[in-house]
């Protein structure tokens, strides 16, 4: 999987490129994430680091978690997440106590994972991008319906997984191959071209792009 970082989505704004065109960007705050635990092949059977973010009140921390943080010599944190690493990456981080945004630079491609905005019960047009029906020409009462959902006596039942209305959003979602437009180490901010899942102030995970991690964008 490779190294990744947790951060907070600040929100969207725009920047101008060298041609003076406005480019939509998402600002993400990536404060240094302390390493809470190291997992090794020798002990746990695989290589990983556990990163933490945010603050949790001691009164809201279970004794078990309090002990876990105490072992790492850190204050209790809100979110913990584990990232699998290769032997080489593990070696590079042998001395590190935290991970910061120096792993990203302008022009990198990244994948951003977050929890999408919850939309509650949504119809098929919003949830599955179906087209609905015509607003006129005699259509009545089915303007936003999806149409047929099955066949007739054969098979005489509905297939599993047919797209229908229901709960939409509030689920893990990733956007891949987003270009890093700018990195501001002094403010712990990175600017990413395009939109990112989740609400403002939501927790996001930023990692080097799985598909285009080795390439560079023209920023």
């Amino acid at each position: 999987m490779g190294l990744a970082m947790m951060g907070k989505k600040i929100g969207m704004t725009q920047r101008f490129n060298e041609r003076g065109r406005a480019v939509p960007v998402t600002v993400i705050e990536l404060k240094p994430c302390p390493i809470v635990q190291r997992k090794t092949k020798a002990k746990e059977g695989y290589n990983a680091i556990q990163l933490g973010i945010g603050k949790r009140k001691p009164s809201r921390t279970t004794m078990a978690m309090a002990g876990h943080f105490k072992k790492a010599g850190l204050d209790p944190m809100q979110n913990l997440q584990e990232f699998r690493l290769s032997d080489k990456e593990m070696e590079e981080l042998a001395e590190a106590t935290s991970v910061d945004l120096s792993m990203f630079e302008s022009g990198d491609f990244v994948d951003v994972t977050g929890t999408s905005k919850g939309r509650g019960t949504a119809g098929v047009m919003k949830r599955w991008n179906m087209h609905g029906q015509k607003a006129t020409h005699g259509v009545h009462e089915v303007f936003r319906h999806g149409g047929a959902i099955g066949q007739c006596a054969t098979p005489g039942r509905l297939f599993k997984g047919v797209k229908m209305a229901g709960r939409y959003g509030n689920e893990r979602s990733s956007t891949q191959n987003l270009a890093v437009m700018d990195v501001k180490p002094e403010a712990n901010l990175i600017y990413i071209r395009g939109a990112v899942p989740g609400p403002n102030n939501g927790l996001v995970v930023v990692r080097k792009s799985v598909k285009k991690g080795h390439k560079k964008a023209i920023v």
Partner: protein
């Protein structure tokens, strides 16, 4: 949200003059041709200013060879190298789209004298 507005306000430019819908303005547009840049002027009447802060845009309309031409500029864009107000207009609304339906003398805007 505050952090975001803060980030934007740090970058707002202060070199632009005050102008309003109805004003006759000359916009100096930076045009890139190959590896050279030059300044091209676009002179016309401001139809509207839209949005706020870093994302504000304005629309300028001019007549070019008998054809109306409108351009929308992002106010904060570096491609807007400068704006000069040639003439202040006296208008009673913020959106001057009615000018699109008028030609010749009818498409004039009264001058604001102070």
């Amino acid at each position: 949200m505050d952090t975001l507005r803060q980030l934007e306000s740090d970058q707002l430019r202060s070199d632009l003059p005050d102008f309003a819908p109805g004003d006759q303005v000359r916009v100096d547009v930076r045009v890139r041709e190959g590896d050279k840049t030059r300044i091209q002027a676009f002179q016309g009447i401001v139809l509207q200013r839209r949005g706020s802060g870093y994302s504000e845009t304005f629309t300028v309309r001019k007549m070019s060879g008998g054809v109306g031409v409108e351009r929308v500029f992002p106010l904060q864009s570096p491609s807007v190298s400068g704006i000069e107000v040639m003439r202040k207009g006296l208008v009673r609304r913020a959106r001057l789209f009615y000018l699109r339906d008028r030609v010749g003398k009818a498409a004039r805007v009264k001058e604001k004298r102070t």
